[in-house]
């Protein structure tokens, strides 16, 4: 099993959800997060004054999948989330040691 964490632009979330649904992903978890990458945030201008915004709003998607699906899922996220501009985000893939479906107590891959 693999655990996939994707940090993407908030406005690409719907496109990513649709792409993942098309790949057969059954569920995912989304949270609103803030962060920065190599650009170190951005600036906003109010009344001509520049404000440094160190933490830019992003969306974090977390998905647990069978190991065999991981590459296809990462690829789908990449295609759906990509605008080609700075700040498109990153996708991380982690090994996943265990899982349990809380309602039934099923363990491992059966729980996904």
């Amino acid at each position: 099993m693999k655990y996939i964490i994707a940090i993407i632009q908030p406005h690409r979330l719907d496109a990513v959800r649709e792409a993942l649904a098309a790949k057969g992903v059954q569920g995912l978890t989304v949270s609103e997060v803030r962060g920065f990458g190599r650009q170190k945030g951005q600036t906003e201008i109010y009344r001509g004054a520049e404000y440094n915004i160190h933490y830019v709003p992003k969306v974090k998607i977390e998905i647990a999948v069978d190991a065999g699906m991981a590459d296809a899922v990462v690829e789908a996220i990449g295609e759906a989330a990509r605008t080609g501009r700075i700040g498109d985000g990153k996708v991380f893939v982690l090994p996943l040691e265990g899982a349990m479906r809380v309602r039934t107590g099923e363990m491992g891959a059966d729980a996904l």
Binding site: T43, I45, Y46, R47, G48, A49, E50, Y51, N52, I53
Partner: protein, 405 residues
């Protein structure tokens, strides 16, 4: 002789001007600070309104509008004692109770304007003490000089609704306080941006509408003067708004809401002293000049001089007010659509009188505010600790959060 129509309009205008502060100005300023300081701004405006009301009745009204002194009024109308219920205020057709209330709303909004300079870092006790002393030592004398029959009124200064009395006094005192208080931690680039520009817009709209009461109410009657004052007020506000939108669109490619509503306030402040004397064509020019000059001054104060007049009180109100005071001399001229200058006085002569008013009010406001600030600093201290400033004033000073989510 009390006139029902005039009285009805002035009661309405009084409500409109109070609405400018509560909640107009409070929301206008509140949206511009970070979320952890929202309540402190609302609380400061609300507190100033209440404290000034009490002081106005106790002595401030009498010292401003009673008596014939050149520099200050007398105490014969303390607590409105001796003012008959059905007496008309001097030279008006409205009851003195209504005149008392109308003028009180001006005395409330003026110190509340200064809040914009010290948001996010001043101690609450210092805010209250400063406002009390400032009301008595800056606002009351200046209002007496110009509206209470004092020495500037004798010279013929034109200040219809408070370019000098309200906007210049508040603007220059605000700048001085911002300098003496020091900038917010992280100023200029590491302070947090406005937390709710929509709230600022809502507050600005209340100010705009309330300003009809402010300027048209200053006619102290319900006739043609009030009607034209309202018209020029609206035209100037809209014109200055367009100026800011165009400047930002050209300069940054993104015309902002915060910029647009700031332009409206600049246009309103600039027309204020001239609003009873000029015609609608002049209002276009006044809005154009006010919008442009105030925009430049925001840049000068914040970016050139690096002074953290946080919400631009000097640039928008002080400068707008002073520019309007000068332009009143020009556009009051009958040839330019105004009501005409005093018989035998030239435009240049009036401009000189206006300049005298600006310089006198400027010097008085700066010198007296300096003394008040030093006194408040010695008595209660000006700034909150760095720790409280970082965490925000709401929870530390007032024990509440603006948003429980």
């Amino acid at each position: 002789m009390i006139d029902a129509g005039d009285t009805a309009w002035l009661i309405t205008a009084t409500a409109l001007v109070l609405f400018m502060t509560l909640p107009g100005l409070a929301l206008f300023y509140g949206g511009l600070v970070r979320a952890e300081n929202l309540l402190s701004v609302l609380m400061q405006c609300f507190t100033i309104a209440s404290v000034v009301t009490v002081l106005w009745l106790l002595a401030a009204y009498s010292l401003t509008f009673s008596g014939t002194g050149a520099w200050i009024g007398d105490l014969s109308k303390v607590l409105l004692i001796g003012v008959p219920r059905d007496a008309a205020a001097a030279d008006t057709t409205i009851p003195e109770s209504v005149f008392f209330m109308f003028q009180m709303t001006f005395a409330i909004i003026t110190p509340a304007l200064i809040v914009g300079a010290f948001v996010e870092r001043m101690r609450f006790g210092a805010v209250v003490l400063f406002s009390v002393l400032w009301l008595f030592l800056v606002y009351v004398p200046v209002a007496h000089w110009i509206w209470g029959g004092g020495w500037l009124a004798e010279r013929g200064v034109l200040d219809f609704a408070g370019g000098l009395v309200v906007h210049l006094t508040a603007g220059v005192s605000a700048l001085l306080l911002a300098i003496m208080l020091g900038p917010r931690l992280g100023f200029p680039h590491e302070v947090r941006p406005p937390h709710a520009p929509w709230m600022t817009m809502v507050g600005a709209c209340m100010l705009w509408v309330g300003w009809f009461g402010f300027n048209a109410g200053s006619a102290l009657s319900a006739g043609a003067d009030a009607g034209m004052a309202m018209t020029v007020t609206h035209i100037s506000a809209a014109t200055a708004t367009v100026v800011w939108i165009v400047i930002e669109a050209v300069k940054y490619g993104k015309p902002s809401l915060v910029g647009a509503v700031t332009g409206a306030i600049a246009g309103l402040a600039t027309i204020t002293p001239a609003s009873g004397y000029v015609g609608p064509g002049a209002a276009l020019v006044i809005g154009l000049v006010g919008g442009g000059v105030c925009y430049l001054m925001v840049m000068v104060v914040k970016h050139r001089f690096k002074i953290d007049d946080a919400l631009d009180v000097l640039a928008v109100h002080g400068i707008g007010g002073a520019v309007g005071v000068l332009l009143a001399a020009v556009f009051a001229d009958a040839a330019l659509g105004g009501i005409g200058l005093v018989e035998g006085r030239t435009m240049g002569g009036q401009a000189l009188i206006q300049l005298t008013g600006i310089i006198a009010v400027l010097i008085w406001s700066v010198v007296v505010s300096f003394i008040i600030i030093k006194l408040v600093q010695a008595l209660v201290g000006l700034r909150v600790s760095a720790e409280i400033e970082e965490q925000g004033l709401d929870l530390n000073i007032h024990g509440e959060r603006g948003y429980n989510m």
